[in-house]
């Protein structure tokens, strides 16, 4: 039995969808139908399933119908025809009242622009779903706090959403969905509004949470990089139609048609395989003005690293190894001036990944990724590059 199963789902926008539906069956395209009947085709004949504990990413460019499709699952958008089954129960047949209760029980949802309630604190936002189910205040608070801790926002529960950064706001959005303990998570471009590095952090965190929770997740994205990282399976959509469905490897190695090929090519070359997409945040940084050999050494020890990059005037000034720092400490140096070396490699964020391999191979230190202003934006270590590539099923 599949957890979610969608059968021949159509969504047509307009006052007389039957007409457009007939034209669709005759094989007319979305644009032709728009011209002839002024009806928009959101989703056409979509069928797929999601198994328990699986992450399925629905991917497509904007306007491809992916957001419409996910809203048809919990009927925020009413499907024109077709069936949606959750746990073998026909969601499309539920009455309004039954649907409301069904949503409370089964669906947590996370939105692209967070959709947090501005007049409620973080905790009150997270508690919202429980509050409307009339859970006891005590239990509500406990479960709310637990969800806040899960997403790493402990200590922020009394703040208002406007006081938080985008990444933190979306953590609240995630916690709001988690607090419900619903078995299905619908995530509509949940991380798309975030900065690339924060997005990566959130993806990692979602994967970590998923390991303990084993929820059934439908994740909408327009980003192949994200789809490949998160998805157990990927569904590619174009113009409301599902063009291919499969694992990351299947999509990359045997694209179903030209559209998928282009999608994979475009995104693959320019985005998936660049320094930016495999870099990680440095565990620790040394500051030229304030750190001497002793504090640099301590930073390396606590972070468990053998070398550290040094920042000066917001720019990357050099690198210090643990061995050099220890020696300088013996000599009694007070600054990092004499131990700092420029004997490391740095690359631009858009450097293709295949150029990174040789650089890492004959170097024991991390690669620095610097932008055009010589600011350190991330580092690449062997492990992170290999892991990044392995996840993507590319060699």
């Amino acid at each position: 039995m599949h957890k979610i199963s969608i059968e021949n789902l159509y969504k047509i926008f307009g006052p007389h969808p039957e007409k457009a539906l007939r034209l669709l069956e005759q094989g007319k395209t979305k644009d032709e139908i728009m011209q002839n009947t002024k009806h928009g085709v959101g989703v056409a004949n979509a069928s797929f399933y999601v198994d328990e504990g699986e992450i399925v990413v629905i991917m497509g460019l904007s306007g491809s119908g992916k957001s419409t499709l996910v809203r048809c699952i919990n009927r925020l958008i009413e499907p024109t025809s077709g069936k949606v089954f959750v746990d073998n129960e026909d969601v499309t047949a539920l009455s309004e009242e039954e649907l409301r209760v069904f949503r409370q029980k089964h669906f947590g949802m996370v939105f692209q622009n967070f959709a947090l309630f501005p007049h409620r604190t973080v905790l009150q936002n997270v508690e919202y779903g429980l509050e409307i189910q009339q859970t006891e205040p005590q239990e509500r608070k406990e479960r709310g706090m637990q969800a806040i801790e899960q997403v790493g926002l402990k200590g922020w529960e009394a703040s208002y959403p406007s006081q938080l950064s985008g990444g933190m706001q979306q953590r609240v959005g995630l916690a709001r969905a988690l607090a419900l303990d619903a078995d299905i998570m619908l995530m509509d471009e949940a991380f798309s509004a975030l900065d690339p590095l924060i997005r990566r952090d959130m993806q990692d965190e979602l994967l970590m949470l998923q390991e303990e929770m084993q929820k059934t997740i439908v994740f909408i994205s327009h980003d192949l990089d994200e789809a490949l990282r998160l998805g157990d399976r990927i569904i590619l959509m174009k113009d409301g139609v599902i063009v291919q469905e499969g694992t990351a490897e299947e999509i990359l190695t045997s694209p179903a048609n030209d559209y998928v090929v282009r999608f994979v090519e475009d995104v693959d070359m320019s985005k998936v395989l660049t320094a930016e997409s495999v870099m990680v945040k440095p565990a620790e940084m040394a500051y030229y003005k304030t750190d001497g050999p002793k504090s640099a050494l301590r930073k390396m020890k606590t972070a468990g690293i053998s070398s550290i990059f040094v920042r000066k005037d917001r720019q990357l000034a050099g690198m210090v190894t643990a061995a050099d720092a220890a020696e300088a400490l013996k000599r009694g140096d007070k600054t990092l001036e004499h131990v700092m070396t420029e004997n490391f490699d740095s690359v631009a964020p858009d450097t293709p990944a295949n150029e990174l391999f040789p650089l890492l191979a004959d170097n024991n230190y991390p690669l620095a990724v610097v932008n055009e202003k010589n600011k350190l934006v991330g580092i690449i270590i062997k492990g992170s590059l290999l892991a990044g590539l392995a996840e993507r099923g590319v060699s």
């Binding site: 925020l76 069904f102 409370q104 309630f117 919202y128 189910q133 709001r176």
Partner: protein, 277 residues
């Protein structure tokens, strides 16, 4: 063109006659309740010595606005009114404004909510509001008399008719302005219509609703003054007397009193609304 006159005026008169003949028990009941309400409110306010009430209002102004300037203005303005010998008419005016505003809110906010949530109702109500707001205010005085007779109740009736539209309009606007995605989120978590209304839409719409209530109060004040013509007492009555007796000085004193009351009410209400943001 004047051979046949379309009987608009006659029809309206016939309608009013019909209402007066058949529903006067309702208007009588309303009249009794409202009149005793006004009397009680005025008696309470007149029971205290003016200086105590002035201090109370100044304190209220400070409590809502947290601004010394507004509190000081309230204090000085009301003392000036007292000094001009206009304390009793001012109390009358404030009582009429408060009661009218209360009616306007009780009627206007629920209608505004309904208009925001129901498209058909919205389409019916909006042209009526346009009509009500464009009609010269004086016209409302006329039907009020056959229903309620001369006096404060007729004044309140026409004031409520005149000042309710902004409460309806801005309540409706405030709720419609709640971002679609927030409503969608509330739906996605399985909220009932009432939960959505009280936990999301009304709290977010509050500043806008407060702005509407502020307008309602201002319109009520202006109408209460005009309603002096049909026997409402108060500062408007003083102006009306001054016109009839050709006493420009007295008229201006009462006018200044109205301005002071208007500024005090406006500033306090603006703060009450603004605080929510």
């Amino acid at each position: 063109m004047e051979g046949y006159k379309i009987p608009i005026g006659q029809s309206i008169e016939a309608l009013i006659d019909l209402l007066v003949d058949n529903f006067s028990f309702i208007t009588k009941a309303f009249s009794n309740v409202t009149e005793s309400g006004i009397t009680i409110l005025i008696n309470i306010m007149m029971f205290f010595p003016p200086w105590l009430l002035i201090l109370f209002f100044a304190g209220l102004a400070w409590f809502f606005s947290k601004k010394e300037g507004i509190a000081a203005f309230t204090l000085i303005g009301l003392v000036l009114i007292w000094n001009m010998g206009l304390w009793e008419p001012t109390v009358n005016t404030i009582a009429l404004v408060l009661i009218s505003t209360m009616f306007a809110i009780v009627i206007g906010v629920p209608l505004g909510i309904m208009a925001a949530l129901n498209d058909i109702f919205y389409k019916i109500v909006m042209p009526i509001l346009d009509f009500m707001q464009t009609m010269p205010a004086f016209v409302y005085l006329i039907p009020a008399i056959p229903f309620f007779g001369l006096g404060p109740v007729a004044a309140i009736f026409s004031t409520v008719v005149f000042s309710t539209p902004p409460a309806i309009r801005l309540t409706c606007l405030g709720i419609k302005q709640v971002p679609e995605e927030l409503v969608e989120a509330a739906d996605a978590f399985g909220s009932t219509k009432w939960q959505k209304l009280f936990k999301l839409q009304l709290p977010i719409a509050t500043p806008t609703i407060m702005a509407g209530i502020n307008q309602t109060i201002m319109l009520a004040l202006s109408m209460v003054v005009i309603a002096a013509m049909i026997g409402a007492k108060g500062l408007g009555g003083e102006v009306w007397k001054a016109i009839q007796r050709l006493q420009p000085g007295r008229g201006f004193e009462a006018g200044i009193g109205i301005v002071i009351v208007a500024i005090i009410l406006d500033r306090i209400m603006q703060r009450v609304g603004g605080k929510q943001e």
